[in-house]
């Protein structure tokens, strides 16, 4: 008889091994899925995971890795702090949109002024937009005990409508011949987030790396980080230790909102260029997978962000070369989270084979 025995402490080795195993399992089952769609599974997996890095056109795809990875890492770092403490911000997509709108609005307000302070102000605007949007569920939770999962998610749909409204109305390009969408910030040098476009380097990449270091220091060297971990692992002990839950909620939601807002701003001021109706492509939701895949650990998130960016880029290549549907990649990413959660059983439990004892 198979018996699950709870480990006194989560196994460190398994905790590191499960993400790798989950990726392998996803490759196998993803391959089966691609085979079911009538594609050569080996070729499809190779196209997704190998070609962007080492294929013939890798020089073009490698910079893309930074472009796609940066927002994912930036958002996931913020989310991971809350997830660690059991504070579930799942509306990062909305905060990302609001950050892009407010940040772009700041930049467009200065157009066509060419001054050094335009971009820093946009960065502040983007962070502030995301922060305010995340403060809504935070304050409602602290003040009224409202469920932050539902409120933050509802606000994603509100933000999407806001995005539509902005790109059709307030922020529409006055010289765009009536087409929806704002001015392209890539044509406005002072409001541009690119550092080196051909290398895929923009300020979001820098911000993502800073966020990783910041989160690492916070969690390992700072009292607040200790409180976050304590609240997640032993809520009762945290209360006795004098952790203020309201402060923690405001901090975790606030920081994740601000980071998501920043990600939105760097995206709109660089790779996307303009506010359009379909500006957001789900980074805020994929970042949830990244956070879990990275074990809620800053360095892990960095690696996981790279891997997810790879599936985005590889997915696009597979789409154009093999005719693999875009949705198949979405399924693939969802599968990854499934296997990760399922395999986590091995981290927290020991599987024992017990012989039934004679009564």
């Amino acid at each position: 008889m198979i018996v699950l025995e709870k480990r006194p402490q989560p196994s460190r080795n398994w905790s590191l091994a499960t993400p790798v195993l989950a990726v392998l399992a996803t490759m196998i089952f993803g391959g089966l899925l691609f085979a079911a769609l009538g594609k050569n599974p080996v070729e499809a997996i190779r196209t997704i995971f190998w070609d962007p890095l080492f294929g013939e056109f890798a020089f073009y795809y490698r910079p893309q890795l930074l472009v796609k990875g940066a927002p994912l890492v930036l958002i996931a770092i913020g989310l991971s702090l809350g997830f660690k403490a059991g504070i579930w911000n799942i509306g990062a997509e909305g905060q990302y949109i609001m950050g892009a709108i407010t940040g772009a609005a700041v930049g467009l307000a200065f157009y066509p002024l060419d001054a050094w302070y335009v971009f820093p102000l946009m960065v502040l605007g983007g962070a502030l937009g995301g922060w305010v949007w995340a403060m809504i569920p935070a304050i409602l939770k602290v003040r009224f005990g409202t469920n932050e999962i539902l409120v933050s998610l509802m606000l994603v749909y509100v933000a999407e409508q806001m995005l539509a409204s902005m790109s059709l109305g307030l922020l529409r390009n006055p010289e765009g011949h009536g087409f929806p969408g704002s001015r392209n910030l890539n044509d406005y040098a002072a409001a541009n987030s690119w550092i080196h476009q051909n290398a895929g380097l923009h300020w979001g990449v820098a911000a993502a790396l800073i966020a990783v270091i910041f989160a690492y220091v916070l969690l390992n060297r700072h009292m607040l980080g200790f409180h976050i971990r304590l609240t997640g692992e032993a809520p009762r002990a945290a209360r006795f230790a004098g952790v203020n839950p309201a402060r923690l909620i405001l901090f975790c939601l606030g920081i994740s909102g601000a980071l998501a807002g920043l990600a939105g701003l760097f995206e709109v001021a660089g790779p996307a260029g303009q506010i359009t109706i379909d500006f957001n492509i789900g980074y805020g939701f994929t970042a949830i997978i990244v956070a879990f895949l990275g074990r809620l650990h800053p360095v892990g998130i960095l690696l996981a962000g790279g891997l997810m960016a790879l599936t985005y880029i590889g997915g696009e290549i597979a789409q154009s070369q093999l005719g693999l549907p875009a949705a198949a990649i979405q399924v693939f990413q969802g599968m990854l989270l499934f296997f990760l959660l399922a395999l986590d059983l091995l981290t927290n439990f020991r599987i024992r084979l017990h012989k039934k004892e004679a009564a």
Partner: protein, 306 residues
Amino acid sequence: MDLSSINPVLLVASLMVAATPILLAAIGELVVEKAGVLNLGVEGMMITGAICGFAIAVETGSPWLGFAGAAIGGAALSLLFVLLTQVALANQVASGLALTLFGLGLSALLGQGYVGIKPPPTPRLDIPFLSDLPGLGPVLFGHDLILYLGIALVAAVWAMLKYSRAGLILRAVGESHDAAHALGYKVVRIRIMAILFGGACAGLGGAYISLVRVPQWTEGMTAGVGWIALALVVFASWKPWRVLLGAYLFGGITVLQLNLQAAGVAIPVEYLAMSPYLITILVLVILSKDKSNAPASLGKIFHASH
């Protein structure tokens, strides 16, 4: 602006139609939560049900087979949630999110060939004389059977929870799984059945959107209805009849804002379209002070050590 173009009888009739997907999903989730499980994958199960129902209805030409397929599809997806939370003992919040992300992708994949197709119409009840009554006829007797099934399910769940032994056991499992386990009830088995029921209901709700309400298939067409259903369970404080009331309230808001859009009110369309989500937040705020009705074991992992 011409508000007189809004016909109150049609408004009430379409309100009931708009409320049914939320109602079906919410009553299923209520049973799941009463068993002490928090399944945040409602949105994913709904959208999967929407495409399963749509595809089967189109292929077979029968909306009823479509609805049956939707219920099976929703339940099948919830089986993944069962594996994660009841077998692998994973965190329920994370597993629910995984279910939604996966369901959204899966439905988009399944639905590729079905964009722009019209499904076979779902027949409406047509009782001679009764359905033709002015005013009352279209509201009470002019709908399809699934809408009545939704209301019947509310009554059935209410009676089951309140009067039957099965309901008592379900509530016991949700209030204290350790006590229920000690009494010899199969906690995991009962929870699995509740989760499957919730999945089937969410699937039905999704298919109601794609087969009756819209009726068409577009990617991501549930647009947050599953999340609204989750919110509805909270502010109905886990009481079936309040779920019905809440669903109709939301159906009303949705239909009213659509009517106002059509009537050309001076408020921009986008702001009207936000209103159901904003009102969900508002109601959540007003009603979430009182959590005394929440099942005590909600969202907690059960692991029988012996």
